[in-house]
């Protein structure tokens, strides 16, 4: 019985291990140091989105707007860095440093996430619908702000965030590692973490227990927005350019990582650790499909099948529990 339970808990880790074994056999490039760092660098953006959304899904919600918030935040970060803010009436121009533009982008992401949480709790709108609306709004705002044009040449200082190495490790990997640490602490060691699991497990019981459900949801969606914004800064820095359609469909990879990592879409069950494994699995799968020269159309089919498989396994586990 113990071994069966351990097996269930380690499903995604076993799947990742098997996938890596298969890829290292079929591709001689997969296990090279350069490629593995590249995989980690690539998944750092998805990790940001996924660990933020894990909290949302743990409360039995969903956030479909993370990709669009990523795009808008990245665009605002790039726009402020490059053009600043002009106040013609005051004959004043406000320039932004890398720190300023990054903080402004995170503030925008957090505000949009908070707005999601407020709409969901204030008007009892299903999270799917509320965040789907935000997806469209943020994407539209992104196109409006950039006028549909990329914002490029953001300077070498900003480029360092996505491109530099620190102590032999890419900076985006350091950033995502620090964020993972923070979120692991939040979920495992704080009352907020316990509230999140309680709300996802049984919202009515949580309410009766005196858990401030509204406030927790506001915070959870705001954190998801903030993480999407950090992802936006990373993507923009890596490309040294903000694309108005950046982050398109990123929410799907994020949800896939969370589901594969064993977090239940019904809420209350799952962990940041599982999400990390899920994100790495998706990243390795993407990388492997590219290394094997699989057509981008087939890549989508394969990814879809993997997500479907993960959801079926999740359902079967729930039944057996």
């Amino acid at each position: 019985m113990i071994s069966n339970s351990l097996l269930k808990k380690s499903q995604s880790l076993i799947a990742l291990f098997l996938l890596m074994v298969v890829l290292s056999v079929v591709s001689d490039k997969f296990l090279t140091t350069g490629n593995l760092w590249n995989v980690l660098r690539q998944i750092s953006v998805n990790l940001c989105l996924s660990i933020g959304m894990t909290l949302v899904i743990l409360t039995a919600g969903i956030d479909l707007s993370v990709g669009a918030i990523l795009g808008l935040s990245g665009a605002i970060c790039a726009g402020l860095l490059k053009f600043g803010l002009a106040f013609p009436a005051l004959d004043l121009w406000v320039g932004f440093t890398v720190l300023g533009a990054t903080l402004a982008a995170i503030l925008v992401g957090t505000s949009l996430g908070f707005f999601n949480g407020w709409v969901i709790t204030r008007f009892s709108v299903p999270p799917f619908v509320a965040t789907l609306s935000m997806l469209t709004i943020a994407r539209g705002l992104s196109f409006l702000y950039t006028q549909g044009q990329p914002i490029s040449d953001l300077g070498t200082d900003f480029e360092q965030i996505g491109a530099a190495w620190l102590l032999g490790v890419p900076v985006p990997v350091w950033i995502s590692a620090c964020l993972i640490l923070v979120f692991v602490v939040i979920t495992n060691r704080t009352s907020l973490g316990r509230f999140i699991y309680a709300i996802g497990g049984n919202e009515k019981a949580a309410l009766v227990s005196g858990i401030p459900i509204k406030q927790v949801k506001w915070l959870v969606y705001a954190l998801s927005g903030a993480m999407a914004a950090i992802g936006g800064v990373l993507v923009t820095s890596r490309l040294n350019s903000a694309q108005p359609n950046a982050g398109m469909n990123y929410e799907l990879d994020s949800i896939a990582a969370i589901v594969i990592g064993g977090t239940s879409l019904s809420g209350g069950q799952g962990s940041i650790k599982g999400t990390i494994i899920g994100a790495i699995l998706i990243g390795v799968l993407n990388n492997g499909l590219v290394l094997l020269n699989v057509s981008p159309f087939w890549q989508q089919v394969v990814k879809g099948l993997v997500i479907l498989l993960a959801v079926i396994v999740d359902k079967m586990n729930q039944k057996s529990n």
């Binding site: 600043g84 002009a86 106040f87 013609p88 005051l90 004959d91 004043l92 121009w93 406000v94 320039g95 932004f96 440093t97 720190l99 300023g100 903080l103 402004a104 044009q149 490029s152 040449d153």
Partner: protein, 195 residues
């Protein structure tokens, strides 16, 4: 105590995040008016008026009809996009008519003095290289500055007092595509018109 530390952190973050300038000074710098002015002048003087490939328009027509490929190589400038090439021409002719800014010459060619848009002058000058520009936007801005200077300042000033029947000398740029063969006349975007 906590509030104080919070406010201090916010102040430090704010100080490290933004800086201020006068908008008017900034706009002047950002528009790069002076830089464009210098570059426009360089294109017109070095790139067009003193360019050794400047050819008599009737001679160019003859050479284009004789051997397009050689003429493109010898006298034209191609950017590798499309099949057209851009040429610098000069000539002397009498004005047959002027309609909507189009000055028809008695040699069959014409000077479009009103609608100076597009890339003809810029590309024929050979002074512009795509890799010199950080973005397409900068390239477009310089092109428009060049065309605007010709369209709104230089050519209208030089056209003052010129009438049908006058003999003029001119320098300009034109585009010729292989599909234009045989060439009988040229539409020239003028850079200089002298009475």
């Amino acid at each position: 105590m906590k509030k104080g530390i919070g406010i201090l952190v916010l102040l430090v973050l704010g100080y490290q995040s933004v800086y201020f300038e006068k908008l008017s000074t900034r706009t002047q710098q950002a528009s790069g008016v002076q830089d464009f002015g210098k570059r426009v002048e360089a294109i017109l003087v070095q790139g067009v008026l003193n360019n050794p490939v400047l050819t008599e328009d009737q001679q160019l027509i003859k050479e284009l009809n004789n051997n397009l490929t050689n003429t493109q190589k010898k006298l034209g400038n191609r950017l590798g996009i499309g099949e057209s090439a851009y040429y610098l021409v000069k000539g002397k002719a009498r004005i047959s008519s002027i309609r909507d800014g189009y000055v028809l010459l008695d040699n069959g060619s014409g000077l479009d003095t009103q609608f100076i848009f597009g890339n003809e002058v810029r590309d024929a000058s050979r002074m512009i290289h795509l890799e010199d520009f950080k973005s397409q936007k900068d390239l477009n801005a310089l092109t428009e500055a060049l065309n605007k200077h010709l369209r709104e300042t230089k050519i209208p000033a030089e056209m003052k007092g010129i009438q049908v029947g006058d003999e003029i000398s001119y320098v300009g740029a034109c585009e010729v595509a292989p599909s234009d063969l045989p060439v009988t006349s040229l539409t020239i975007y003028p850079v200089e018109i002298k009475h």
